[in-house]
Amino acid sequence: MKKILALLLVLCMALPVVALAEDSVTLRFSWWGGDERHAATIAVIEQYEAAHPNVTIEPEYGSSDGYNDKLATQLSGGTAPDIIQIDPAFLPSYALSDAGYLVDLKTTAFDFSLGDPAYYSLPMNGGFDGKQYGVPSGVSGAAILVNNEMAAKFGLDFHTQYTWDDLFAWAKQVHEADPEVYLFEANKTMIAVAVASWAKQNYEGKTYFDPNTKTLNYSEEELAGVFTFVKRLFDENVVAPVSYMAAYEGDNMQNDPNWVSGDKYVACFAYTSTCETLAAAAPNNTFSAGKFPLTAGSDIAAWNSNCPQVFAINAKSANLDVAVDFLNYFYNDETAMATLGSVRSVPPTARAREICAEKGLISDLLAQACDVCTSYSGIPDDSLYNGSEAKQIMWDAIEEVGYGAATPEQEAQNVFDQWTDYAASK
């Protein structure tokens, strides 16, 4: 018995020594994506591991579905990975949380020299009040994906600058010619993006919130104007009915059989990061990236480019320096850039874009979509509207207006009250 006890004691004492002697580091890196992104990201991990034999990086990948829920649980439970891919819509709630979940990369050895400060310092790209809680994974933004055959059939030209009024006229023309055809495929998430730009164009470039005073920039009457516009989109058949699109929420628009068949929509309101997926889903058609609608008589464009994902480092990481070093490699190394290509939309740094262009890693469609997107001057959404709660209120409101459950005025009052409470609670 004594012998066993002694043996156990010796073992207990020896364990930490063994752990120290090996000096091996294990990091966890989580992201969501499809097969192509998984393969490229794992290849970069393997490159890094080959150069740093003492480092093991445990990949934790999955699909976008449920990713944010899991991440929120992990962050609050203290079990989050060291390096995390985050959806920009959820970034503010993590970055600005009192719990201090994410590391300010400016306090670390992360090398920002290849990035464009004007771009990465935007709130949606991780920059908050001079602190940098993440780095953008790429350049993206909204995209109008035009089905070339359908556009030609109805004689519509999305490539010359047009206005919202043109859009309503086109929708009428298309729907009258064939009642099964709608001008746009767009779910409520995408409608909210379009409506935010319309609102800025029509209300002096105002964002919904003023984050400094934590109040609303819009009056109830102005919000009623916004929802009247939303109602027009549905009533005048610019977009498919909300009840139909409910099954294709989030990033699921490519699964809409009417989109796949290629003869029910003229265009799709999408993101640059999803436009290739959408194009591939309808193999019988060819696609191009159209221009964005503007408001006649307004000189504000307000079509933003932003990033599809942000990479951040967990403040609780036990191996912060190594995590930063890996992210550095991931972001700044040319081999890594060439491996990653455009698996996370168009790359964030000019150097990476050059490499992709040289090697033909960016498709013409994606390049075109990004060119269109960056050709407009943007007015980024404020940090309060970027929060997931505010967006959810907007999405619900769009749905209610779409279903006809509330008039634009009722909805405006409802959203005004909810947003006022939300802003005050921040």
Binding site: W32, E60, G62, G77, G78, P257, T277
Partner: protein, 303 residues
């Protein structure tokens, strides 16, 4: 008179066949979809894949000159091969092995622990029995979603996240009240006289359980084991919450890997993977069909 019986039999069989077709249709559809392209899945309502027809063969032949029918046959199953290869570093072999490592001990531990607890409740009187039984039944009513947050916090503190401990330990501690309750009901149906004669012959309580009661409980244990196998194998939610590393993913998590909104989903491949994933359950069902019904039918028969 006889005619009437024949007519009745005919209609009951017709009804059974119709219901049977409705129930099997999704599985047949899934299998057929594994041979289709996305376009065909979304664009046509036909069940049989174009690839099975001569038109499919000829269009393949046009792309692969000099191809033989044997090669075409291999090509037909390419979705299965590709999906088996999995995503990134892990093939379905890993996922199946992980599922096996997760499910088998969980099932075994559940059976052992549930039997012991059920034996206690069914055969012994002890202070607070009613209260404890009430609590047991109470936890039966508790939805998993309610307890998942405290469980997660607790397991995270103990460093059990990203291991299979959150599955093993509750199984070892009879935290599956449904099975405990089922076994209690079954044991109540077994005559006490058997226990008593065993005591007279000098058996201890434990030996009575092992040698007298267990052989009689086989049908109930079988159905408990089958259900626990199915539920653990199919479980997505708990695996998603507790397992992080892709190398530890089970089949249900592995299936979800290739479904992402930001990339093109090859549904044919997805359906092929689903076919592979349900295969163990289908085999299990046919192999143990007898016990599925028997176990349920005899539980609580003489309550």
């Amino acid at each position: 008179m006889k005619k009437k019986t024949v007519g009745r039999t005919f209609f009951s069989y017709l009804l059974i066949i119709l219901i049977g077709i409705i129930l099997i249709f999704p599985i047949v559809w899934m299998f057929c979809a594994a041979f289709k392209t996305n376009e065909e899945i979304f664009g046509s309502t036909g069940l049989l894949p174009r690839a099975w027809t001569s038109a499919g063969f000829h269009s393949w032949l046009a792309e692969h000159e000099g191809g033989s029918f044997g090669q075409y046959f291999v090509y037909l199953f390419h979705n299965f091969g590709e999906s088996w290869a999995g995503t990134g570093r892990n093939s379905y072999a890993t996922f199946f092995w992980n599922s096996f490592k997760l499910v088998m001990p969980t099932v075994a531990l559940t059976l052992v622990s549930s039997t012991l607890v059920a034996y206690g409740f069914a055969r012994f009187n002890f202070p607070g029995k009613k209260l404890l039984f009430g609590i047991l039944i109470g936890t039966l009513m508790l939805p998993n979603a309610v307890v998942i947050i405290p469980r997660y916090a607790m397991y995270a503190d103990w460093g059990w996240v990203d291991t299979y401990m959150p599955f093993y330990v509750p199984a070892a501690l009879a935290a599956a009240p449904f099975f405990v309750y089922m076994l209690i009901q079954f044991m109540r149906g077994l005559p006490r006289d058997l226990d008593e004669s065993a005591y007279i012959d000098g058996c201890s309580t434990f030996r009575t359980l092992v040698q007298i009661l267990l052989p009689l409980m086989v049908p109930a244990l079988f159905s408990a084991g089958l259900f626990q196998f199915m539920w653990t194998y199919n479980d997505y939610f708990n695996s998603l919450v507790f397992i992080n590393s892709a190398t530890k993913y089970t089949v249900s998590l592995g299936l979800r890997l290739s479904l992402d909104g930001e990339s093109v989903v090859n549904w044919g491949k997805m359906m092929a993977a689903s076919c592979i994933a349900v295969l163990p359950l289908i085999i299990l069902f046919f192999a143990a069909q007898k016990y599925f019904v028997e176990g349920i039918a005899t539980t609580g028969l003489k309550g």
